[in-house]
Amino acid sequence: MTVLILAGITAAALIFSLVKSPKRTGKSLKYAIRLGRGMLPEVLGILLLVSLLLSVLDKEIISATLGNANKLFSTAMGALIGSVTIIPGVIAFPLSRELMAAGAGSMALAAFITTLTMVGLATSPLEKRYFGTKFTVYRNSLSFIMAIFIALVMGVLL
């Protein structure tokens, strides 16, 4: 469902390109395949590892950690767990709902969701390849700090 916009844009761009120049379209598609071939093995490796990590991290452990009475601890743990994993939004939100029902604090959840999507220890090898080490390190660390900040503000306001 969420892919519809992206799919629509891709289709439109592709049609435009085909009409204007089938030759350049072919060249683009060849380049796209080359991009894919470069990225695919690494992404698969990352996904394999993250899936393994998720299957090891018990849901009870996560909700206990995120529901810890010590708000600072649970927020920090939320941020840490989120940084190491990546979960599709389709799963992340129902999961957060369950965690909330199981007692996870909203501060911890905010930190978790933000780092889950924005900070990726798992995706950093890929990010390094595209943007270099310095960019990757800075973007991820600053985003991590940002996530904590967001969680703190939410904790104050909610």
Binding site: I5, R24, G36, L48, S55, F93, P125, R129, G132, L142
Partner: protein, 220 residues
């Protein structure tokens, strides 16, 4: 052996799975369950992203990107970046190829950081889900705080010195020495209109595609 080296991560993961399959198969089955949804999502999004990235690289004039997403694009550039990212689908790593293509065409650091961040965290399609599962108070508050935070992040990163972002990923044109990576953006006619005596000199002095675009008369 070359092939294995490039796929180091994948090889290690597979070996790990095989070992665990023998010692503790339950973990592997659970993991495979998660893997299925990950792969499903990846397969839906990545091909589209690669096609769009390739089309951007082939068709979009650098001039256009520089003007709307370059370092001089101001508020408009920020707005476009936010919108681009929020229209997205898929996990953050899907943003990398596309954003990289935009960077090569002259998008500023500010723009690409905002695009990547909003791609990750502000997804219009996802907002509905978040509203449904976590409530409107949580969702709107999170968005309201996260958007300015993203802008701040972009600003901070844009103020930093040279990142050394590679312009060619393995598989692109042959890996010549890094200082020549900007050379492939240039016409190579040494016309001196940019103020440098050769294209190579401009390439050596450059620190981003945006810089090259703004100097070279053939690109701006």
């Amino acid at each position: 052996m070359e092939i294995v080296k490039k796929r180091k991560l994948l090889v290690i993961s597979i070996i790990l799975y095989l070992i665990l399959l023998i010692i503790k198969p339950d973990i592997v089955y659970t993991a495979l369950g998660y893997l299925k949804s990950f792969v499903l999502e990846m397969v839906q999004v990545l091909p589209l992203v690669f096609i769009v990235s390739a089309l951007i690289t082939e068709w979009v004039p650098a001039r256009l990107i520089s003007r709307h997403l370059g370092s001089k694009s101001g508020i408009r550039g920020v707005f476009y970046s936010l919108v681009l990212g929020s229209l997205s689908a898929g996990p953050i790593y899907a943003a990398f190829p596309m954003t990289h293509s935009l960077y090569k065409k002259g998008a500023s650091i500010n723009s690409i950081v905002i695009i990547i961040s909003s791609w990750a965290v502000i997804k219009v399609p996802m907002l509905l889900m978040e509203l449904k599962f976590l409530g409107s108070e949580f969702a709107f508050l999170r968005y309201a705080i996260t958007v300015p935070a993203i802008l701040l992040l972009g600003f901070v990163m844009s103020r930093m010195k040279k990142f050394g972002i590679p312009l060619t990923i393995d598989g692109d044109h042959d890996q010549s020495e890094p200082d020549n990576e900007y050379l492939c953006l240039l016409p190579g006619n040494d016309c001196k209109a940019c103020g440098y005596s050769t294209c190579a000199e401009l390439a050596a002095a450059a620190d981003s595609p945006g810089f090259v675009n703004s100097k070279c008369v053939f690109l701006s």
